[in-house]
C-alpha cells in the first residue's frame, strides 16, 4: 500500500483541473498577448481563469496577477512594498515561523538596510499579537504574516492583524499558500492588501502562483520585461497553468466546508489512535486553530529522518522537521520558535492529509507506525536512558 501524507509539500493534481488545462498545450496555444484569433482564444481563457479566482476571493479581476510560484508572489509582495514605500519608512514586521520564501526575503532586505522585527509565537505556533502591536512604529511599511503554517498547521489571527495594519496604515501581506483551497478567504473583508497563493498546494499545477494586490497598493518591480500582468510579472502568459489553477480552485471551493470537516476528522482520528498506541509523543500546535489535515508529531528520543525512511519503506510518505533531513542540517526554525527543545525537535514528523486520503490509509499507518517507533527506540541510547529512569 502506498499512502501519500505529504500534501503540505505538494498535491496530486485534480482530474478536472488537469482536463481543463490540457487543450491549452497543443490545441489552443496562441500567445495571450497576440492580436490574432489564436491569441484571442488564449486570452479568453486567461481572462476567464482570472475571473474564476477573483470571484472566489471576492475581489476585482484587476486586483489579481499570476506569477510562477508562491515563492515568487512572496518575493514580489515583500520586495515590491519595500521598494515602493521606501520613502515612508524602512521597517517590516513578520513572524518567526514564516516559510523560507518570506523569511529569507526579509533577511535579504535586512542586508539592504531595512529593519525587520520577527514576532515570537506561543507554544502553539500562534503569533503574539501584543508583541506585534508594540512593534509597530511610524517607520513600519509592511506587516507580512502567513495564514496557515506549513509545518505545524497553526492558523494565525490575520483578521486581527489586518485591523492593526489598517489602523496604522501599514500594508499587510499574507502568505496564504497553505490555506487557499482549504479555508474560506475573502482578503478584503480580512483587511489584507496582498495575498500569496500557489497552484500546486490545492491540486492545481506546479509552476504557477498568484498574488492578490488590493487596488491602491503600490508595488515596486522585481522582474522587468514585457507588459504582462500589469507589468509586474513579465513573460509569455502560462495559460495552461492559469486554467489549471483556476479550475482546481473552483473544484476546491465547491465543497470546501465538507472537506475541511472530513480531513479534520481523519486527522483527529489519527492523532487519537496514535496517542493510544505510542508512548512519549507530543502533538504540536494542538491548542491552536489548525489546518484540517496537518499533524505535527514529535516522537521523543528519536530522530526524524530515521522515522521518515522507515515509513517510506512501508510506502508511507511523510516529511520531517528534522535537521538531519534538511539541506543545511539546521533544526526547524518553526519548532524552535515554539519553544520545542532542539533535542526533541529532531524527532518531529509532519503528516499532512489531503482530499485523496481515506480512513483505510490512516488505519494502515496506525498499524505500521508503532512497531517502527518501537524498533528505532530500541536502538536509541536516549530512549534506553529514559526507560532506565535517568
Amino acid at each position: 500500500m502506498r499512502v501519500y501524507l505529504d500534501n503540505n509539500a505538494t498535491t496530486k493534481m485534480d482530474k478536472e483541473a488537469l482536463e481543463a488545462m490540457l487543450p491549452y498545450f497543443s490545441e489552443i496555444y496562441g500567445n495571450a498577448s497576440s492580436m490574432h484569433s489564436f491569441g484571442n482564444e488564449s486570452k479568453k481563457a486567461m481572462v476567464e481563469a482570472r475571473k474564476t479566482i477573483a470571484e472566489i476571493f471576492g475581489i476585482e479581476t484587476d486586483e489579481l496577477i499570476f506569477t510562477g510560484s508562491g515563492s515568487e508572489s512572496d518575493n514580489l509582495a515583500i520586495r515590491g512594498v519595500a521598494k515602493a514605500y521606501k520613502k515612508r519608512g524602512n521597517h517590516i514586521i513578520t513572524s518567526s515561523v514564516e516559510h523560507p520564501a518570506v523569511r529569507n526575503t526579509c533577511r535579504e532586505l535586512e542586508k539592504e538596510g531595512y529593519e525587520v522585527t520577527y514576532i515570537s509565537v506561543d507554544e502553539n505556533g500562534v503569533i503574539n499579537l501584543d508583541e506585534l502591536k508594540k512593534a509597530i512604529k511610524k517607520e513600519t511599511i509592511l506587516i507580512t504574516v502567513m495564514h496557515g503554517n506549513n509545518e505545524v498547521g497553526s492558523i494565525q489571527p490575520v483578521e486581527e492583524i489586518g485591523k492593526l495594519a489598517k489602523e496604522n496604515r501599514i500594508v499587510f501581506h499574507v502568505d496564504a499558500v497553505q490555506t487557499v483551497g482549504k479555508l474560506n478567504i475573502k482578503p478584503k473583508e480580512m483587511g489584507i492588501d496582498l495575498l500569496t497563493f500557489s497552484g500546486h498546494k490545492f491540486y492545481g499545477p506546479k509552476g504557477i502562483g498568484g498574488l492578490f494586490i488590493k487596488s491602491g497598493t503600490r508595488l515596486g518591480k522585481v522582474l522587468t520585461g514585457g507588459g504582462q500582468e500589469k507589468k509586474l510579472r513579465p513573460g509569455t502568459s502560462d495559460v495552461p497553468g492559469m486554467v489549471g489553477m483556476a479550475t482546481a480552485l473552483e473544484v476546491a471551493y465547491r465543497n470546501i466546508d465538507e472537506e475541511f470537516k472530513r480531513e479534520e476528522e481523519l486527522r483527529n482520528y489519527f492523532e487519537r489512535e496514535l496517542l493510544n498506541k505510542v508512548p512519549e509523543i507530543q502533538i504540536n500546535a494542538k491548542g491552536a486553530k489548525r489546518l484540517p489535515g496537518t499533524s505535527s508529531i514529535t516522537f521523543k528520543y528519536l530522530e526524524g529522518e530515521s522515522i521518515l525512511l522507515s515509513l517510506n519503506y512501508k510506502g508511507i510518505a511523510v516529511s520531517s522537521g528534522s535537521a538531519c533531513s534538511s539541506d543545511d542540517l539546521q533544526a526547524s526554525h518553526v519548532l524552535l520558535a515554539m519553544g520545542i527543545p532542539v533535542e526533541i525537535a529532531h524527532g518531529t514528523i509532519r503528516f499532512s492529509f489531503g482530499k485523496y486520503n481515506t480512513k483505510e490509509e490512516v488505519d494502515y499507518v496506525i498499524q505500521e507506525l508503532p512497531p517502527i517507533i518501537e524498533k528505532l527506540r530500541m536502538i536509541s541510547p536516549l530512549w534506553n536512558e529514559f526507560k532506565a529512569g535517568k
Binding site: L302, E303, S306, C324, E343, S380, P381, L382
Partner: protein, 122 residues
C-alpha cells in the same frame, strides 16, 4: 538526499544492536542537541575485539555507519580497529551523501572512545 542500497540495508537491519554487560571498552559520543548520540560496547580478549554492540540515536546514515563499523572491527586487533577512518566506513557503504559525511565521524569517534576506555582500564 539519496542513500545507497547498502546504507538502507544497514539502516533497516542494523547489525550488532544492543549492549554488553560489563564491557571491556565503552564509548559514548555525540550530543542530543546535534541530533546524534552513539554508544558502543566492546568485549576484548588479548587485544582482539571478540564482541561489539551499539546503540545510536540519529539519522539513517548515523545508524548505518554505526552498524557497518561494528562489523568492520569485529575480530580485529584493537590497534587495527583504531585505524578505521570515517572515509573507509563511508566507502564500505558505497558512499554517503556529502551532507551526511559527518555522521560517519560519529562511528569512528565512538570506536576510538571505547578503545581508549579499554586502554585506560588495562
Amino acid at each position: 538526499m539519496q542513500y545507497s542500497e547498502k546504507v538502507m540495508d544497514h539502516f533497516m537491519n542494523p547489525r550488532n544492536v544492543g549492549t554488553i554487560e560489563n564491557p571491556d571498552g565503552y564509548g559514548k559520543v555525540g550530543s542530543p542537541s546535534c541530533g546524534d548520540v552513539m554508544e558502543i560496547f566492546l568485549k576484548i580478549e588479548n587485544d582482539i575485539i571478540t564482541d561489539v554492540k551499539f546503540r545510536t540515536f540519529g539519522c539513517a546514515s548515523a545508524i548505518a555507519t554505526s552498524s557497518i563499523s561494528t562489523e568492520m572491527i569485529l575480530n580485529k586487533n584493537v590497534s587495527e580497529a583504531l585505524q578505521l577512518t570515517n572515509k573507509a566506513v563511508a566507502e564500505a557503504l558505497d558512499g554517503l551523501p556529502p551532507a551526511k559525511m559527518h555522521c560517519s565521524v560519529l562511528a569512528e569517534e565512538g570506536i576510538k572512545a571505547a578503545i581508549e576506555d579499554y586502554m585506560g582500564k588495562k
